[in-house]
Symmetry: C2
Subunit: 203 residues, 2 copies
Amino acid sequence: MTPPAAKATPAARTPAGQARDKILATAFRLFYAHGLRAAGIDTIIAESGVAKATFYKYFPAKDELILAYLEKVDGIWTGQLHAAAEAAGPDPAARLVGLFDALASACRRDGYRGCAFINAAAESVSGTRVHDRTVAHKEHIRAWIRDLADQAGAQDPDRLARSLTLVLDGGLASGVLDADPAAATAARDTASQLVAAGLGRNP
Amino acid sequence: MTPPAAKATPAARTPAGQARDKILATAFRLFYAHGLRAAGIDTIIAESGVAKATFYKYFPAKDELILAYLEKVDGIWTGQLHAAAEAAGPDPAARLVGLFDALASACRRDGYRGCAFINAAAESVSGTRVHDRTVAHKEHIRAWIRDLADQAGAQDPDRLARSLTLVLDGGLASGVLDADPAAATAARDTASQLVAAGLGRNP
DNA sequence: ACGCTATCAGACAGACCTGTCTAGGGCAAC
DNA sequence: GTTGCCCTAGACAGGTCTGTCTGATAGCGT
């Protein structure tokens, strides 16, 4: 019936090669805001303004998209931690405390909903790639903090790093509940105490 | 075709009034092990050995079951915390540290998968009843810890309670990743430092 | 013995979810 | 111009999910 020439809008085309980025950006937003399971492929595709076939070309399965999302989160969050630490100056001890400023900034951002990795782990069973990726992320962070503790001359860098990651994870976990900046301030404050104690200084 | 009298096994019947408990017990197991969304109603019903109509009689919607589950978790976990605190003796300061033994016990249990509330919050959006219930739980815990800190004569009970809940939540969050008992020990150790510092004693 | 209520078994509806497939349209390089 | 690639639109299949409904049965109190 409808003549082939009378087709509707000729399709608002996505420039070649940019489709993947658009998908990943949408996935980032929806996965973080609603959770991995709650965000459906169809919604992500629709909000990306991309065709279904294009989506499946770049991400053969939802799991691949989730892993790409975690990769992106890792890069962003690690970058923010490093930046906050460096902003505290050259002293490693100051950096150990300063990195907690990244937590405060994060929880003041609109739509903050805690740590994407902790949230992802809560939705995935142990042994899956998603879960493993989360564990790897947390280990990287702890290794980095341990290095800082070492440079700061901590009496027991492992112990101090453990304590600090506990506080950091605690602050992130609180963020899932209420993005209360007080939790972040308290985390920084607690970290400061722990660093002082871990360096053998009595505050 | 099939004569009505030739029915199969006459039904392994659940004693009247016990159906709700069986459902809740199964839900407890499946929700915790797989997550709120991953555990489907059909599976819970099948594993409870209960008829679908019976299920919906007690829990008109999945949300009701989830809330009942959280209620149950709250009772159990709060009980374990109180018990661990009391086991540490009558001294409030010792209790503040002793409650962390509940964390160590929990993460040594088989199938430990972190804090059911944090996991639930990760799957629910802010503003839902599930989310609110989680926030309420965390506030109860913090209020109780604050009371203990008060009794212990902390210089700043609020601040100490904040710190301790951060460490507790951090330990629980780590549990989603790896049920590493070292994290629990480190949490107790960190708590001990913080309590000592919060009481004005230099360790 | 009778009836009431709680339970069982399972079909069914309607929504949603992932992933495949067909058919065609625009763009650039050759 | 033609060829090849990347994109669009959307139907479709097969599965899972929640929740409703029917009809029959078991056990308890009276």
